[in-house]
Assembly symmetry: C2
Homo-oligomer: 298 residues x 2
């Protein structure tokens, strides 16, 4: 039997494409880390368990998963991925399988919620109680902390699927979301850019019309988040946002959309301090999973 090591926690980010596992206490103290492709659920969960069985044994494990997931502690399917279109993964009981296999407490939330926790604890939202972490990548996901705590509720934030204005005379693209067509994700995620322009987003030059449209759509969705949940900071990551100039263009649109209505400098001259890039890059997920386990076990 592996003896639990005081103070060390496990983190797992199960992403749509990659799984990241780590053992440690924070960004500067990772004892072991492994990244592999997300495959079928059975072998993938097996490989995660193998990672942790090699030791040292953590006091608990946090998992940040792609969604939608069941976070209701009273539900028989708590800790499962629910209605994902990802082949084989719908209704996979991720947390229960890992907890049963490893005999360890497993804590579970969405990938974006744990990323918000990581950015709040170690990154771009330190000292901020109320944080939105947004990722614009293959899809669009938002995690939300209010009064320092993850927001669950009916399910959890699924902001990618809200509807934004879509002027078909300027952008005739019907949208890429299998469920909703031209919801926010259907218009503005990486997959939508690829479909609309029949090109890999990274292959579109900075001056391509794609990016002006993208800035507008991203700003419209952030505006909805700001006006509904009023976070004190919005951290915007994901592969699409790595495009040079895009974050600044999003900020400019947001200020314009606000039109002086919210009379705070953070939605005006200080927008650069309100809508910010992540500080932890693609480590936010796995680090946030560690933060989730730490917070739950303390």
């Amino acid at each position: 039997m592996i003896v639990p090591m005081a103070g060390i926690y496990g983190g797992v980010e199960t992403g749509g494409t990659w799984v990241v596992c780590a053992l440690g206490t924070g960004p500067d103290d990772i004892a072991a880390q492994e990244t592999f492709r997300t495959g079928e659920p059975g072998p993938t969960l097996e490989r995660i368990a193998d990672f942790f069985e090699r030791g040292p044994r953590p006091a608990g494990i946090g998992v940040g998963s792609f969604g939608p997931v069941d976070l209701d502690p009273g539900s028989p399917t708590w800790g499962s991925v629910t209605s994902t279109p990802k082949p084989g993964w719908a209704h996979t009981p991720v947390a229960p399988v890992l907890a049963g296999r490893l005999g360890l407490p497993v804590h579970f939330d969405t990938d974006v919620t744990v990323a918000a926790l990581a950015e709040q604890r170690w990154g771009a939202a330190r000292g901020v109680d109320s944080v939105c972490y947004l990722t614009i990548g293959t899809g669009i996901g938002a995690g939300l902390l209010i009064n320092g705590r993850p927001v669950h509720g009916l399910v959890h934030p699924e902001a990618g699927h809200l509807r934004i204005p879509h002027d078909r005379s300027r952008d005739p693209f019907a949208g890429a979301c299998p469920a909703h067509g031209d919801c926010w994700e259907g218009l503005a995620a990486g997959g939508a850019i690829r479909e609309r322009w029949s090109a890999d987003p990274s292959a579109l030059p900075d001056e391509h019309a794609a990016w002006a449209l993208e800035a507008e759509y991203v700003a419209l969705g952030i505006l909805a988040i700001v006006l509904v949940a009023s976070p004190q900071r919005v951290v915007v990551g994901g592969g699409v946002m790595e495009r040079a100039g895009l974050l600044d263009a999003v900020r400019a649109h947001l200020v314009q959309l606000n039109a002086g209505y919210l009379q705070t400098p953070l939605m005006g001259v200080d927008i650069d301090r309100y809508v910010v890039a992540p500080a932890l890059g693609d480590r936010a997920g796995v680090l946030g999973a560690i933060a989730l386990a730490q917070a739950a076990e303390r």
Copy 2:
């Protein structure tokens, strides 16, 4: 000097048109109540103070105000209405004036946040931790409780000003919001209905095209709230929603917009238990102001 009466609290709802003051402990125990038109700030605050000076003296007073308001306890303008277009009221320090005049603790939040507190405590959201109270009246306002607590943050929810899809080929109306034109409020509040159809909303018959469009717009905004904040219940009040059949039409649109994506019966067959009418009617504001004072003083 009036001796404070144990257990009794004061509540004030300062609405755009009416002010309601009350003294009591809850909906079935109101010792005194007064309603009068909202006038210029000076005389209006004076009249509120007069009401409370007549006694019995409460242990504290809650105020639910039209917004936007400053809720930052560290701000020099805490307790003020900020950027309202209501003549004379911009930058009025409502809570500080009442606290100074009455020598009582005064607690302050938005009218819709306190209405959410009232519906949670005594009304249509009893036993629910995470509640959105939405009013579709002259304007559109949303108050939000997450994990049982009012949501503040950058400012407070201002969901009325989010942008929803607006198909100008079907609805050429440019929108009624002075700041944003066709934001949610600019398309769907009572003022927008009046401008679009050049008629008082109450004069439009049930079968008028106004109501099908209204149901669609209201549903689009609620969808954004559901997907961003994931409340466990949405209470929808306000004069516009009193129209027969409108709430049911909104529910039908919401289910259709969700398209099975959130796999919960509450966004499907059980939508009637998710999006509900208020139980406290137009008393929610003043009762919620009492609830705010009670919660803060306990």
